[in-house]
């Protein structure tokens, strides 16, 4: 083969390789995983939890376990409630006995309490979810509605997602032996029913809705209140907004 033909071949192969490499890199989201809500006709779900309304009854955590087939032992929770007690001396007590399912007893005498409140926790259904980013096989994903779900038939149980979630929402189901977490009751959302935890909350502390709908109660609430997400410094794109979130909350 003469040298000019060899040169041509070399440059052609390099060009082809570079083009393929570029298109693959661009499409494969090699670095940051960020959900792109593709279908405009579907809702893009967000959640609001109003801490000023939570009374720590624990109905949400109890209903979630019934609705979603989660074992009753105190080690697996798709959602749970924490109680924060800030004492006058500045120390903070945090408790969550059985995830709050059995309610809370006041353990610190009232005269020592500076302030005290309940914080329900659940999956934040992050738009830039670190748990989806790290799943090695594609067993956890963002549904087109923005709900982070687990494919129980595909999960290999490597537990990388459990490590990556900054909010402690994930666990390995002891019977199914795959990753498990709050699904925003996806099976209920598809039938226009509210998630179980929101159905049974007596004070309306939990809300869900379509972030795309400017007229939805959720978006109106976000407009009229000062809300925050947990761990904003980690840039998870959390879609769970807390009203009246105090700085002690982790």
């Amino acid at each position: 083969m003469n040298s000019s033909r060899r040169k041509f071949l070399k440059s052609a192969v390099t060009l082809a390789g570079a083009t393929i490499g570029y298109t693959w890199l661009k499409s494969s989201q090699v670095f940051l995983y960020a959900a792109e809500p593709k279908d405009e006709s579907l809702p893009w779900y967000g959640i609001v939890i109003d801490i000023s309304k939570c009374i720590g009854c624990g109905n949400c955590a109890k209903a979630c376990k019934s609705e979603n087939d989660v074992p009753v032992e105190p080690f697996f929770f798709r959602t749970w409630v924490e109680q924060y007690t800030v004492r006058n001396d500045g120390t903070v007590d945090i408790v969550s006995p059985n995830g709050g399912i059995d309610g809370f007893q006041q353990r610190v005498p009232s005269e020592d309490i500076f302030k005290s409140f309940f914080v329900p926790k659940m999956c934040n259904h992050c738009a830039k979810s670190p748990c989806i980013q790290v799943c090695p096989v594609g067993a956890t994903y963002d549904s087109p509605e923005g709900v982070v779900l687990v494919d129980e038939k595909y999960c290999i149980g490597c537990r990388y997602c459990v490590q990556a979630c900054p909010y402690g929402c994930r666990f390995i189901h002891p019977v199914k032996k795959v990753a498990n977490k709050c699904t925003l009751c996806y099976h209920r959302l598809k039938k226009d029913l509210a998630p179980a935890c929101m159905e049974v909350c007596p004070t309306g502390a939990r809300m869900y809705g379509n972030l795309r709908d400017k007229n939805s109660d959720l978006v109106k609430f976000l407009k009229e209140h000062t809300t925050q997400v947990l761990r904003p410094n980690l840039n998870t794109g959390s879609k769970l907004y807390y009203n009246a979130l105090s700085s002690e909350v982790k």
């Binding site: 593709k38 000023s52 309304k53 009374i55 720590g56 009854c57 624990g58 109905n59 209903a63 019934s66 609705e67 979603n68 087939d69 109680q83 924060y84 007690t85 309610g103 809370f104 007893q105 006041q106 610190v108 009232s110 309490i113 005290s116 409140f117 309940f118 594609g138 067993a139 956890t140 994903y141 963002d142 549904s143 087109p144 779900l149 687990v150 494919d151 129980e152 038939k153 595909y154 699904t183 996806y186 099976h187 209920r188 598809k190 039938k191 029913l193 509210a194 179980a196 159905e199 049974v200 909350c201 007596p202 004070t203 309306g204």
Partner: protein, 154 residues
């Protein structure tokens, strides 16, 4: 004259080509059909997740039969509380008409879950009593109709 190609290279190239082809072939059989439909996941999983069993029917379903309770509840402070908050998951009951998982709660501890005094509960959100002092020994529903709590029975 043919250029010298060391014999290792074509033999190794063949070995690798066979291996890679086998891998690609195997992959075609193993990757699930719906994978990649909407993203890097099995599209059929959306259907799996949507088909889980419903346990809580939602308040509207209760009202279809229990219109009277709906009217009663709407007049008093428990109006915003959904039925299944206290009565448990109702889907089985809606479908079969049998009791299913419905419970008729009773006992001070049950009401105390919400109403027991606790510094963390906002007084403007829930009315609280100290159950150690308030009518000790009596069941709450002896005096309070849970669907119309301020209408005392006695």
């Amino acid at each position: 004259m043919k250029p010298y190609i060391p014999p290792q290279i074509p033999r190794l190239a063949l070995a690798f080509a066979i291996f890679i082809s086998l891998f690609i072939l195997l992959r075609n059989f193993l990757v699930p059909d719906t994978f990649g439909q909407y993203g890097h996941y099995r599209g059929a999983s959306l259907i799996d997740n949507a088909q889980n069993e419903i346990h809580y029917a939602g308040q509207k379903a209760c009202f279809e039969c229990h219109q009277d309770i709906q009217d009663l509840k709407a007049q008093d402070v428990h109006s915003d509380i959904h039925c299944e908050t206290c009565h448990g998951p109702g889907q089985k009951h809606v479908i079969s008409g049998e009791a299913g998982d419905i419970i008729k709660p009773s006992g001070r501890a049950f009401c105390g879950n919400c109403h027991e005094v606790n510094a963390a509960k906002q007084k403007t959100v829930v009315f609280q009593v100290d159950l150690n002092k308030h009518n000790v020994g009596k069941n709450c529903i002896e005096c309070h109709n849970p669907h119309q709590p301020w209408e005392m029975k006695k």
